[in-house]
Amino acid sequence: MHAAILARFVVLEARRSGLPWLVAASVAGGLGLAAFLSQVAVTESLELQTAIVAALLRACAVFLIAAQVITSTQRERDDKGLELVLSLPLSRPAYYLGRLAGFVACGAVVSACFALPLLLWSPPQAVLLWALSLCAETALMAAAAMFFSTVLTQLVPAAAATAGLYLLARSIGAIQAIAGGPLAEPSLPQRLARWSVDAVALLLPRLDSVTRTDWLIYGSPALDAYGAALAGLVLYALLLGAAGLFDFHRRNL
């Protein structure tokens, strides 16, 4: 119950901040870019618009949610709101998970808002799958941003770590493919490099296999692969939640 109240406050805070305006500006910017591109493209103009707008809105969604989580957590700390809330009969897990649920709900609303304009160019089923995937992705990034802003306690390190995790998770598949190429001599350093990359990949989500623009252009993905990719995201979000909760318990407030 307490967690639900906290989640509601987080959503309320987001609604009263600049987040809705930024979401609207992102959609407007995406539509404007699409209109411009449709004028200059000589072929595949619909596919071009879909691809560019979807990629842009995906990046915007992740950035806006991560920024919202980090700044909100920082503000809570600076205003001593955290100490105030914990002085009430409220458990630490309820506080942490409640706020996280609020941020996840914000991510779901942002994902839905960003999926709507894509209905102009893509079939509803593909857009629905894309939106659900974006929802899971923003939930994961909300958990990551909350984890880092709790652990690192400062704005810039938390933002850098969140961005680093996101970029690495989006590119780890390509990095693994490059590291696994047999063209290089099979030397010890080469094997060590490959093992290191594989070990890092075990601790990362596979963000390169979700919220893909090609679903919107070439049709929906196979449902089993889609389900597995989303399950991987949910699992990693749970891991980040557990790790954040662990650290939050150790904080001496």
Binding site: A177, I178, G181, A201, A231, L245, F246, H249, R251, N252
Partner: protein, 245 residues
């Protein structure tokens, strides 16, 4: 970032359990679902060179090399006996061309075309890779001659296509002007002509090369003179055979 931490014992047991469980599940999940290797059909259409330059944020040399690493990871792993066999070479060559246009001084795309992609057992694909090397050689012969020289050797020994080898060797001989281009590269044409049984042309070329004074090394000079003598003898024997008895 100095933190005031409580002892680990303050963390409830269920949080320990949740952390251990989710961590084990994450690692287990990634182990049982390794990323699938990139298949040949996954190779997307190449970006325009201008887009690659834009994406490089002012670092075209780094971007071109990263793009090459990305490109060479397709159709390469997981039970693939012959790398690049299934690759769409039209698309591949467009990629190589875009990367080379991003950083024209890089030798990587030409190396890959001549030494990796031209090794494809499908002669059509090998020829496509060699033709890419030839076309790009024409844009900067003094810097790119070595790859066309290699292409000439591949055409001669692997494809057994002497006219194609002669075309490449002729281009190397005629279009390179830099002093650091070795004489062997310029002499390739002579030996290919000889293999094609065009002995007279080979003799004229070799004689011209010796008369030009380009060859300074005495051992090389001696070897080529002996070769010229052998050529003349060969021509005489051939002419004798052709005389009506």
């Amino acid at each position: 970032m100095i933190r005031d931490e409580r002892p680990l014992a303050t963390v409830p047991a269920w949080v320990w359990f949740a952390l251990a469980l989710t961590l084990a599940a994450q690692i287990g999940w990634q182990i049982v679902r390794p990323p699938s290797p990139r298949a040949a059909s996954d190779l997307p259409a190449p970006p325009a060179p201008a887009m690659l330059r834009l994406a490089s944020f002012g670092e075209p040399a780094a971007a071109a090399r990263l793009a090459m690493l990305y490109l060479q990871s397709f159709d390469l792993r997981a039970g693939n006996d012959i790398p690049y066999r299934e690759l769409n070479y039209g698309r591949l060559i467009d990629w190589l061309r875009a990367i080379l246009a991003t950083d024209p001084r890089s030798q990587y795309p030409l190396f890959a075309a001549a030494r990796i992609y031209a090794e494809n057992p499908d002669p059509r694909k090998a020829r496509a890779a060699l033709e890419f090397v030839y076309q790009e050689f024409l844009k900067d012969p003094n810097r790119r001659w070595r790859w066309l020289a290699h292409a000439a050797l591949l055409a001669k020994y692997r494809l057994k296509d002497l006219p194609l080898a002669l075309r490449y060797a002729t281009a190397v001989e005629r279009l390179t002007t830099a002093p650091d281009v070795p004489v062997w590269a310029k002499q390739m044409r002579i030996f290919i002509l000889e293999d094609m049984d065009q002995l007279q042309a080979a003799k004229i070329m070799l004689g011209g090369l010796l008369a030009s004074g380009q060859i300074k090394d005495p051992a090389e000079l001696r070897f080529l003179k002996q070769h010229l003598e052998r050529l003349e003898a060969k021509i005489q024997r051939r002419d004798a055979r052709r005389q009506p008895k």
